[in-house]
């Protein structure tokens, strides 16, 4: 077997991964990108239609946009920490707010188009630089090519290798040729995004199955804030071709639909009678999910969004003047072709998994607790805390991408090449080949669906201790009965996407278990996590983070005090989860 050697190996090629590679290469490190897709054609960054946050003062000074000079990094930090419900690591946030401007400016220097500046909900000042995910990934791709950074595409990493506790490399499967691959590297940077695909409804791309999180966990990396997956309300659940499309949510700001349950009741009345459908997105997600879980949803498990209270002309007029859904086209979808006539039929919609607030715990150097292992972008935990501000995910990619690249390169420079443990490599090979060698058993699609149903029902936008316990017992069944029997039906090794899915389900199940256990431990509701059995925010007992780490074969959960530097936490008492507007 060929062994590819490098100084810095980056897993992931988009907003975060490409930025890591650019920095490491510029600092003289031999750098290699390995990505599951094709650069510029995969990952979450390209799906963003997008505001990129920088301090409003920086927007004015660095970008010549109508930013507000009253904004300061500290004020930006205040908004992040209050939105994150004080779960954020404030040392990390302080770096984020200060470096956002310069890092986003580099993207513009590399060719990213800027179309303006907006103030999104949760921000006191206009901080959202308007661009598109496409424009951003093209700028990064251009820079990656200009620097001559080597890329291995369509290769899924399946295991991280260690040498006496420090990182030694990775192994994986090349999808294009169906071969097992070994990479030796002094430093490894994970930029593989969140695990949104553990849920059946998501705005995230196919490959965001939490592989990086599960792999890091398996070698002892600490995870933090894993109980806070974030949901976007009002994403399409039907028809199947448009599952997870966020149009009803996006359009709610310009065309005010009514959210109805199957009895035709405008259920937001019960939740936020003043703001109704304009409530915050966490409350909107909870309200929609309660209707669905309590049997008041539609035939496809969503709630209804109706525009019948508006005149037909108004609905048509909206699709005329709104550039992003002109002539009822949204993205590349033609709504009419998909059977939508919004004057007669509304959307059936539900909350969709949108962003991963928690993840691998990092320090100020974007380093994990495993020497040589770095993490960046959506996969990290600690930056956003319990909830993320609009527009901050892409900023996170470049601020922490550049940091991870810098410190991984510095680490690689001063370290000797690690030894490859052939036993670990052979174990990795066996794990990859096992579903291919089994002749019968459980299909990946079947287990994937089982995991997703469980995640949505018990560990979704609305949770309850009894439900989480039920989920955990079913997860245990899946781990012992189904996972060891996952098999690939077709034995063709080249470009076998069922094989890829067979490898992903293990990560999905692992991440779901971590989310469930963390959620069960946190006996309160906060940020993106709502528990029906503990519906208040408990600042007396729960101003702390939950850390998850593998010890031996056991999953260990522990709490640590939140990291506070500049923003004083609220008084230590119980408070309502939200106050109706």
């Amino acid at each position: 077997m060929d062994k590819i050697k490098t100084d810095v190996l980056v897993v992931g090629s988009e907003g975060a991964g490409a930025r890591v590679a650019i920095e490491a290469k510029k600092l003289g490190a031999e750098t290699l990108i390995v990505t599951e897709g094709v650069i510029g054609r995969c990952g979450a960054t390209v799906t963003a239609d997008m505001d990129i946050d920088v301090c409003s003062l920086h927007a004015k000074e660095m970008f010549d946009l109508p930013g507000d000079p009253k904004d300061t990094p500290l004020s930006f930090m205040y908004d992040m920490v209050t939105e994150g419900k004080f779960m954020n690591n404030q040392k990390i946030v302080w770096i984020h707010v200060n470096e956002a401007g310069p890092r986003v400016k580099e993207l513009v220097d590399w060719g990213m188009k800027v179309e303006g500046l907006i103030r999104s909900p949760g921000h006191k000042f206009p901080r959202g630089i308007i661009s598109t995910g496409r424009s951003m990934v093209e700028a990064l791709k251009g820079e990656v090519k200009r620097l001559g950074i080597e890329i291995v595409e369509e290769t899924i990493i399946t295991d991280l290798l260690t040498d006496h506790g420090r990182i030694a490399g990775v192994v994986g499967l090349s999808i294009r040729d169906g071969e097992f691959k070994l990479f030796q590297s002094k430093a490894v940077v994970l930029a593989t995004g969140g695990a949104m695909r553990i849920y059946p409804r998501t705005t995230a791309p196919e490959e965001l199955t939490g592989d990086g999180i599960a792999q890091a966990y398996r070698i002892g990396a600490e995870l933090v804030d894993m109980e806070f997956p974030m949901f976007l309300p009002a994403c399409i659940v039907w028809p199947p071709g448009m599952l997870g499309v966020d149009l009803p949510y996006i359009s709610s700001t310009v065309l005010h639909g009514w959210w109805l349950n199957k009895y035709g009741e405008r259920f937001m009345e019960k939740w936020d009678h003043k703001r109704m459908e304009d409530t915050t997105r966490d409350v909107a997600s909870i309200a929609q999910m309660m209707e669905i879980l309590e049997g008041r949803g539609g035939p496809h498990g969503g709630i209804f969004i109706s525009y019948r209270h508006l005149s037909q002309e108004m609905v048509d007029y909206s699709a005329e003047w709104q550039p992003w859904w002109r002539n009822y086209r949204y993205g590349n979808f033609d709504l009419k072709e998909y059977g939508f006539d919004l004057k007669d039929h509304g959307f059936e919609a539900a909350p969709a998994s949108h962003y991963w607030n928690g993840g691998i715990r990092i320090d100020e150097k974007s380093a994990t607790n495993i020497p040589g292992l770095y993490a960046t972008g959506e996969i990290i935990g600690g930056n956003m805390g319990a909830n993320r501000l609009s527009g901050n995910a892409v900023t996170e990619c470049v601020v922490w991408g550049a940091r991870a690249g810098k410190y991984a390169a510095e680490y690689a420079k001063k370290t000797s090449p690690p030894e490859i443990d052939t036993k670990q490599v052979e174990n990795g090979r066996k794990r990859v080949n096992a579903p291919m060698e089994r002749k019968e058993g459980v299909k990946p699609a079947e287990l994937r669906e089982g995991i997703q149903t469980l995640a949505l029902t018990y560990v979704g936008p609305v949770r309850h201790g009894t439900g989480i316990e039920k989920a955990l017992s079913e997860i245990e069944q899946m781990k012992t009965k189904n996972l060891p029997n996952v098999y690939v039906t077709a034995k063709e090794t080249v470009y076998n996407t069922e094989w890829v899915r067979a490898l992903q389900v293990e990560s999905m199940l692992q991440v779901l278990e971590i989310v469930a256990r963390s959620s069960l431990m946190r006996k309160e509701s906060r940020g993106a996590m709502y528990r029906r059995d503990y519906p208040k925010t408990d600042n007396k007992n729960w101003l702390k983070n939950i850390i998850v780490r593998k010890e031996g074969s056991k999953m260990k959960l522990m709490t640590r005090p939140i990291v506070v530097t500049k923003i004083k936490p609220p008084p230590r008492k119980m408070v309502p989860y939200w106050v109706p507007g």
């Binding site: 897709g37 590349n332 080249v494 076998n496 996407t497």
Partner: protein, 109 residues
């Protein structure tokens, strides 16, 4: 899902390691209005032939990775509505990895 109707679609199959030239397979898949071509391919891969190869990432028309030749025209598998008697082929002038999966022109490889 209460699906009763079906459609037949024709998919170009080609494995350069085994086949001398491409051939076509016809698949019958359950149909409801509002399915995409991608939904049909997922159904085939998960229920009929797990070896069917095609590239999907964002599945909402943004990554542009799933471009294919659909009824003789280039389009995206994820946003093109499924229709009866549809023909799906790899995009022309690209190296075929397998079936509908191709190496993009701008790829680093």
């Amino acid at each position: 899902m209460g699906m009763t109707a079906t459609v037949k679609i024709k998919v170009c199959r080609f494995n350069p390691n085994k086949d001398k030239e491409p051939h076509y397979e016809i698949y019958e898949v359950p149909y409801v209005k509002g399915m995409s071509a991608r939904n049909a391919l997922d159904y085939i891969r998960d229920n009929i032939d797990g070896s069917l190869a095609y590239y999907i990432s964002c599945r909402i028309g943004k990554c542009l990775g799933c471009v294919a030749n659909i009824n003789g025209k280039n389009g995206l598998l994820c946003t093109t509505p499924l229709q009866p008697d549809m023909t799906l082929e790899p995009i022309k002038n690209r190296q075929i990895i397998k079936d509908l999966a191709t190496i993009p022109d701008k790829s680093s490889l």
